[in-house]
């Protein structure tokens, strides 16, 4: 079996790490070529890499048994992959539970085609949503609302993979006709990561400090404001020992907002934001962490790359009890109510900060659970098995999809009727055999 694995490799998106880790694991079982648009900050890989932007090479995709598309809500990283997807059916790995931002930018900016964007929204979500979105992109008032718009990632999919069971209902649009599955993201560890203890001091962390780390790009759903508020609610003995470090970048205004909130709460010396860091430095912080914070509300990711990254280290993790996070056993991740404004986070943090034994117990238990669940070899086994299922389903999906090819010649008002006639013909052929 040979697979074309379409993915970004840029270090600026977490999807690259997991996609690469997955591709490496899968390559132990079947042949894998990575197809990407080369960027300056691409992660290194020992797998063969082909240039997606080279149109002369694109024709070679026909020689693969499966084309696998890694799609996410970042147009900068995934528009080139989506361009190929609309021309070639394949297996879609969907990394986000919403593609609203991607679709808006893809159609209105990349293809300068707001009309198509509005019409697709109208078709999938109704006339009202289509009209609202249209006014929004023209710069007039209105918001599109909470529409995930995953459907355009499904019509040319021959199989769909997500990373948490709660995302399955969002993508099972053709039940029984297009196979879908949920497979946990695999661990990703950089090969050049460093030892923890030697680096705590160089990171500016004293031996008595309790280092609380949150990482990834700062966005509102990560609830950094609520975390800083929670720190201010800690008992004095805990508050004085905490160093909260956010390892990741953000818009300068967001950084300033967090830092000024910390200063206003008397936590100016206890909160730091590093900005975007290279992999080795990021993992130096993760290795040094005593506690991780990984909150999310609302939950928009299919899985959580940053959580899987933290799970590779034996520190306890305080999370929101929602989506992917809620799939863990009760005694592993330390859960807090998703909409908590700081009180429950503070309660969870206080006991962990003050009790080193508790940190070790919870951290080790979570680590052992995660090591079994997110083993890359397990991911590879499940994905290859799923691709086998997709292969077996291909013939009957082809029967349906080829029926649809003739619809393009039908007048628009007769399309629904032509579909009905086509399905009846298909079913009568089935009965005759």
């Amino acid at each position: 079996m040979r697979i074309a694995w379409l993915t970004p490799l840029s270090a600026k998106t977490g999807i690259s790490k997991y996609s690469l880790s997955a591709a490496l694991a899968v390559s132990q079982l079947v042949g894998v070529d990575v197809w990407t648009t080369p960027r300056e900050d691409d992660l290194p890989t020992s797998l063969p890499v082909r240039d997606l932007s080279d149109s002369s090479e694109a024709a070679d995709l026909s020689g693969y048994d499966h084309i696998v598309y890694n799609l996410g809500n970042n147009p900068t990283m995934h528009a080139d992959i989506f361009d190929v997807y609309v021309r070639n059916p394949g297996v879609v790995i969907l990394h986000d539970k919403t593609m609203a931002h991607f679709m808006r930018v893809y159609y209105t900016v990349r293809h300068s085609d707001p009309r198509r964007y509005r019409d697709l929204l109208t078709y999938y979500c109704g006339a009202e949503v289509g009209a609202r979105a249209y006014r929004q992109i023209l710069g007039l008032e209105g918001q599109m609302g909470d529409v995930p718009l995953l459907e355009p990632c499904l019509w040319n999919a021959v199989g769909v993979v997500v990373h948490s069971p709660d995302a399955l209902v969002l993508i099972d649009r053709y039940p029984g006709l297009v196979p879908v599955t949920s497979i946990d993201l695999p661990f990703y560890l950089p090969t050049n990561s460093t030892e923890p203890s030697a680096h705590r001091a160089s990171l500016g962390i004293n031996s008595n400090d309790v280092l609380v780390v949150s990482h990834g790009r700062i966005g509102e759903s990560k609830r950094i404001d609520q975390t800083v508020r929670a720190l201010s609610l800690l008992p004095v003995a805990a508050r004085e020992r905490v160093q909260f470090v956010i390892v990741g970048g953000a818009h300068p205004a967001a950084v300033e907002r967090v830092l000024s909130q910390a200063r206003a709460l008397g936590l100016g010396d206890h909160v730091r934001i590093t900005g975007f860091l290279p992999e080795a430095e990021l993992h130096a912080w993760l290795r040094a962490a005593d506690i991780f914070i990984n909150l999310r509300f609302p939950s928009t990711e299919s899985g959580s790359g940053s959580l899987v990254e933290q799970l590779a280290y034996p520190a306890p993790i305080v999370v929101s009890d929602i989506g992917f996070y809620a799939t863990f056993p009760q005694d592993t991740l330390v859960r807090t109510p998703p909409a908590d404004e700081g009180e429950a986070i503070a309660e969870a943090l206080a006991s962990l900060v003050l009790d080193e034994d508790l940190r070790s117990r919870v951290g080790e238990k979570t680590y052992a659970y995660a090591a079994a669940r997110f083993d890359p070899a397990l991911y590879a086994e499940r994905l290859v098995s799923f691709l086998g299922e997709v292969g077996l389903n291909r013939e009957r999906l082809h029967k349906v999809d080829s029926l649809g090819a003739g619809l393009r010649e039908v007048e628009s008002r007769g399309v629904s009727e032509a579909v009905s006639i086509g399905i009846e013909r298909l079913q009568s052929m089935e009965e005759a055999t």
């Binding site: 009309r115 019409d119 078709y123 649009r173 053709y174 039940p175 628009s412």
Partner: protein, 79 residues
């Protein structure tokens, strides 16, 4: 897994066919099918062209400033 259709709902097949139709036909056929043709379609086409030309329009010093003021007024009036 078998290759028969018995265990697949009519609704699933219908949805697949219509989704593929909407995503692969030309713009006019799509607009007619989803009911956004006619005047709405004309406005959309003009807006689409304006969006595409906007970088060139605003690059012209005097014309760009006038167009920008007109566009801002239009936005404020909600038109």
């Amino acid at each position: 897994m078998n290759n028969r259709m018995d265990d697949i709902s009519r609704e699933a097949i219908e949805r697949r066919l219509l989704d593929r139709y909407v995503n692969t036909v030309d713009d006019n056929a799509r607009a007619a099918f989803v009911g956004t043709g006619g005047r709405a379609s004309l406005r959309a086409t003009l807006a689409s062209k304006a969006l595409g030309m906007w970088p060139r329009i605003k690059a012209i010093p005097v014309v760009g400033a006038v167009a920008y003021r007109a566009f801002t007024r239009l936005r404020r009036s909600g038109g």
